[in-house]
Amino acid sequence: MAQDEDIDVDKLDEEIKKLTAAAETLDRELGDMSAQAKAVQDDSKANAKSKAELEKLSKKKR
């Protein structure tokens, strides 16, 4: 069995607090990035017709 003297509980608690805050920040940032990813995909779908036109345009020989 491990000796409890090996573990600094206060330090451990501090590390847990720091990690929790960092995880929350990361979650929030990922949430924002997820919203942007969805918006980019939606905009791309909305421009599907234009993309087909562009394909023709770049190949067109006038």
Binding site: I7, L12, I16, T20, L26, Q36, D43, S58, K60
Partner: protein
């Protein structure tokens, strides 16, 4: 500029070009039809009237041609700004991946310490929710969504850049053709048809 904003700006530039392009195409067809019909003029007066009309359409077409050409550079620049925003977004994704890896490494380390401490006769520490891997599949899903969105944006910017560069080249040629065509029409004279002479 955010990726979404730069993409919106790029599509807006394309729409500006497209409007001028469509108008140019329409005027170009009208010009061709009236030009081909010039030899059917009944007499010199009719010819002069037709010629005036052809030149009027040609002038408008040349103007639309200049407008379409003027829209190609801002369109190309908008695609370049999109590519820059894409690079930034790719950097952000890589940074987030690294941050997550670091967090998971710290979680593992802390959990090992908690486990070690919980095996001692003293009190127990209950791992906090955030120390588990609860958010992991969701985070991976978000990062995958972001990666897919960036790939879509790359594709869209690529289509636009290719078309914008090709259109610029085409409209530079169109401009030269209009100058020649209009000059040709200006120099045209009425030639009575042989059949009519009799």
């Amino acid at each position: 500029m955010s990726l979404q904003a730069s993409l919106a700006a790029m599509w807006a530039q394309y729409k500006e070009f497209q409007a001028a392009d469509l108008s140019h195409q329409h005027l170009s067809r009208t010009f061709d039809e009236s030009f081909d019909d010039l030899p059917n003029a009944k007499d010199e007066r009719d010819f002069d009237k037709r010629k005036k009309d052809v030149l009027k359409v040609g002038g408008r077409a040349e103007s639309e041609c200049s407008d379409a050409l003027a829209f190609t550079d801002p369109w190309i620049e908008a695609t370049v700004r999109c590519e820059e925003a894409i690079k930034l977004e790719e950097g952000k994704i890589e940074k987030k991946k690294k941050e997550l890896q670091d967090q998971y490494a710290t979680i593992e380390k802390i959990n090992q310490q908690i486990e070690k401490y919980n095996n001692t006769p003293r009190g127990r520490i209950n791992p906090k929710e955030t120390l588990g891997t609860k958010g992991d599949p969701q985070t991976k899903k978000i990062l995958q969504e972001l990666t897919n969105a960036v790939a879509t944006a790359k594709g869209d910017a690529g289509y636009n850049k290719g078309a914008a560069i090709a259109s610029k080249d085409q409209y530079i040629d169109h401009k030269k053709i209009w100058e020649r065509s209009i000059s040709e029409v200006k120099g045209m004279k009425f030639t009575p048809k042989e059949g009519k002479k009799k």
